[in-house]
Symmetry: D3
Subunit: 131 residues, 6 copies
């Protein structure tokens, strides 16, 4: 068996079910998305990651929409197709409009371009950026 397999709710251990139940309650969804089913292959990792995500994505100094836009920007920069699909959906759910998505893409593209310019031209960091 080479390809990792998902753990479905019906076959899950009580430990895994308890995490799945919490995900459904917090995210207000009828079933957990595939990511969690695969992570459940390692119940300790599943639990630790879910607890961390719950803390990290909760609204705080930044609201949920802004956090989802950042999550999506990282996923696009990493070229992770699952992350892109999942966090586009979560950003939409949190209120991302078409206009916001277009501007997000423009900023991501610009940053990826200028990061390479800065490295390629070996631009030294300005003193006042280090204060």
């Amino acid at each position: 068996m080479n390809r990792p397999r998902p753990v479905e709710y019906a076959n899950a251990s009580p430990e895994v079910r308890s995490v799945f139940d919490d995900i459904k309650a917090v995210r207000k969804v009828a079933h957990v998305n595939n990511f969690w089913k695969y992570l459940a292959g390692d119940p300790a990792l599943l639990k630790r990651n879910w607890e961390a995500q719950k803390a990290v994505l909760a609204p705080g100094a930044l609201d949920r929409l802004v956090k989802e836009l950042i999550y999506l920007a990282v996923s696009i920069t990493n070229g992770c197709s699952y992350g892109i699909a999942c966090h586009t959906a979560l950003a939409r759910k949190a209120g991302m409009t078409d206009a916001m998505f277009g501007e997000l893409m423009a900023v991501i593209g610009m940053a990826n371009q200028t990061n390479r310019f800065a490295d390629g031209y070996r631009v030294p960091i300005d003193d006042d950026f280090n204060d």
Copy 2:
């Protein structure tokens, strides 16, 4: 001469000076930061990139602070030290507090972690993420 050299205002062509002047006016700064001085090695690239940045970073559906947080998230994911230093400073100027920075870092770290989980577990994209 192996290392690219910056173009200083005093030695710049009228074409380059005109871009530098616009950067100083739009960003309300006394001098342009090093990035632009190096890009000025190719005046056409300098002008095109500045015009694009001006359009991309102007407030729209997303405000300037959110755009800077996204820019910083990309720069950190790419490990670009100049981009990190520059856009930390620009994000601070746009209102990023310590609490926001901590939450930004937490989201970036989480996204970089879960992107690898999704790829490593080969998680298939959920149907409803593709609707």
Copy 3:
């Protein structure tokens, strides 16, 4: 013809067949996997890369399983779907258990997260790491 085409054993030159035969003998497999069929588009590259892989993956100070776990960690970090599929299979063959895979994923995720923390917080390298 835009998409690269594989070279099948039946149509291969003697030079390419000789590499394919060696791969089958060393890896104890009935046929070579797709990677080698595509690389055979450039016979010199095929031969050079196979000789290098043979040397690099042979057990030495590190055993084959550990080398495959490292190979998989790199492939996941690069988001290379072929490399992930191929080296999950080779790691399984070399003895990777489910528990090992779970721990491997946890380390990969943690490293990708903390690499971004270190860059984003611009953490200076401790003196004793440079001794």
Copy 4:
């Protein structure tokens, strides 16, 4: 203040000190390395990340040395200079010899090379890698 600042033990809150004390006890070191001092800018992130690292790097199905080699492979692939310096030191401490380091580097280099070959030649995944 643009550049993040470290939190030193002398100025740390009881919450942060308690994490620092645990790091020193678990890792058997006289002082915490810079990474933790910067992460302490966000005490909740510090605590969560340390607890996760403690769990992830503890010996299990994989021993500590193998985990450090994997951590280092990811850090090198990401080009993260702090991660490279820190986890070279931790791998040395866990028993990495010069011969192991040479073989580790060879595997990392090979994997980064063949990942690009697989993507560039658009190699389709073999059926048996998906079983």
Copy 5:
């Protein structure tokens, strides 16, 4: 609606049609490729990006073939499957032979390998590379 949708010529605004027409004229193609149809979701981004691509890919000190080889090298290093497919086709159209493609792949593989060696061995930059 989670997945971005393409804008087809038949439904495009005059502004978008004008860009599509220019792409078809400059590239001498009967229809625009998918990339532009998706970018058209944000007409300002479409126009800006097309104008920039037209300028950047026009023959100058480097001819079109060399520019396409560079574009492909970046796309492969980023593991971007669309970019790889698109710029393999454009490089073919600009004259890339099988032999050139093989050598291109060999250089890309070597560069990705030695970049990791340089980072992993922490090789200091030679003085004469900085003159």
Copy 6:
């Protein structure tokens, strides 16, 4: 000893000296650059990598200058500061002019930007790119 150490010619084994001598002869340089001194920590890796580089960078269907531009494009995309410094110098030596460097940077920036657009907009590959 955490930081890898270079092997200087004076202290090198006959096996390492022989590689160093070949590098100096082929590249027509008075001394080898730092990269090779560090790689010499693993003499088998040094020899294998040098032989491969000699084959890969020799003029063929692509000339040396084009190969160096590609090498530099990859190094910049990976953000590898040693690779950037080294291959800027080698490209200069092979004939890269200021105008070529400017156009190279523009293509690299554009490719890094549009790779993210293609991934973020999830653009499907056109049929004719797969023929």
